[in-house]
């Protein structure tokens, strides 16, 4: 972790005070906030994993080596359902592929030396990306990435251990409602992604597919089947886009119904069911 600061020679300060730049302390504070909040949810993972029958060592190995929450929850859930190990791993892997695209954006922002990249790669996840992308300068981006990554990695692993140990003390985790933690985590990650009709249609289709396939296919396979909702919706959307040419610019409708314009956050409820 201490290897991160191969700082360039004393360049002129990239953040002129008071002109849209951001003080290092402010970046660190933001990064710590995200790192602490999300790192603590490692406790939920530890409990879920131990409750699913994984050993303490297996639970901790997942947090140390996989270190991308959604994939870890997915793997543990699939194993608990009695899935084939490679089917279970495939679902977790597909969830992890989004990190490759985070890496693409981060590599330009951070401009890390080649030798550091294999180390930094392990920390390329939702939260470090969110914090890094929000920074105005390269220096702030590097600080944000490093502090968020280090805080999260440390806390996520410590809380995983605590959760796994706690699960043993709790006994039946179901009685405490802890089996609801994992779907709640998925829902919390999913909700901000449901920005347009495309995402909502994909989510709705995936839910329908998985519930239909669950009774008839081996454990783990229904989720992989539901993943096909993504290419399917893109394909249908592509065909739909070719048919009616969208009117460019504001339409008469926008003028006659001013209340309808520009409400990006106005999401119809209940479509993700």
């Amino acid at each position: 972790m201490a290897t991160e600061q191969t700082a360039p020679p004393p360049a002129p300060p990239e953040t002129p005070p008071g002109t849209g730049g951001k003080a290092d302390a402010a970046v660190v504070r933001d990064a710590l906030g995200v790192g602490v909040a999300v790192g603590l949810s490692g406790f939920a993972f530890g409990v879920t994993s131990a409750g699913s029958g994984l050993s303490l060592l297996q639970t901790c190995a997942l947090s140390l080596l996989v270190f991308t929450g959604a994939s870890q929850f997915a793997l543990v859930g699939a194993l608990a359902a009695g899935g084939n190990p490679l089917t279970a791993a495939a679902g977790a892997f597909f969830l992890g592929t989004r990190n490759a695209f985070y890496g693409l954006r981060l590599s330009q922002l951070l401009a890390l030396p080649r030798a550091l990249r294999p180390l930094a790669a392990h920390w390329v996840i939702d939260e470090t990306t969110a914090v890094t992308l929000a920074q105005p300068t390269r220096r702030a981006a590097r600080i944000g990435f490093t502090v968020t990554g280090a805080t999260l990695y440390l806390l996520w692993n410590l809380t995983t251990l605590a959760g796994a140990l706690g699960a043993r003390a709790l006994g039946d985790t179901g009685a405490w409602g802890l089996d609801a933690a994992s779907p709640a985590v998925f829902l919390a990650l999913l909700a901000p992604m449901l920005k347009t009709t495309t995402e909502r249609a994909t989510a709705a289709l995936a839910v329908a597919v998985v519930l239909v396939l669950l009774p008839v296919l081996p454990a783990g396979v229904p989720v992989l089947g539901a993943a096909l909702a993504a290419p399917l919706v893109l394909f249908l959307k592509g065909r739909g886009d070719n048919a009616p040419a969208p009117a460019p610019g504001p339409t008469a409708d926008d003028i006659t119904h001013p209340g309808r314009t520009g409400e990006p956050g106005n999401s119809p409820k209940g479509q993700a069911r």
Partner: protein, 102 residues
């Protein structure tokens, strides 16, 4: 043993995905179709996983106390609660319904 195979495969796959993004020259994965698919794939997977882990046990699709937990989480989300509060709401609601015999 099977569990260790799954852990190793997941760890390797997820690490390589992370590394790929940092190593590949900018622009190589930039085709818009690939990007859109990559953005949409987690949506489908997360929605499917949410539904599966809320509404099924093994091969049986059913509604039980976890549905109340998910509803509580959804309310917390709409109220813009922090991540931990969302998860806690789901856990407490599920435990509450079970304690009442649900």
């Amino acid at each position: 043993m099977n569990v260790w195979i799954a852990i190793a495969a997941t760890a390797l796959g997820c690490y390589l995905a992370k590394l790929l993004g940092l190593l590949v020259p900018a622009g190589a994965l930039d085709r818009s179709l690939v990007k859109r698919l990559a953005a949409l794939l987690p949506v489908a997977l997360l929605a499917a996983l949410t539904a599966q882990q809320t509404f099924s046990t093994g091969h049986h699709v059913l509604i039980d106390a976890r549905a109340a937990g998910l509803a509580a989480a959804a309310v917390a989300l709409l109220l813009r609660a922090p991540f931990l509060v969302i998860v806690a709401a789901a856990v407490l609601a599920t435990a509450g319904v079970r304690a009442l015999g649900g």
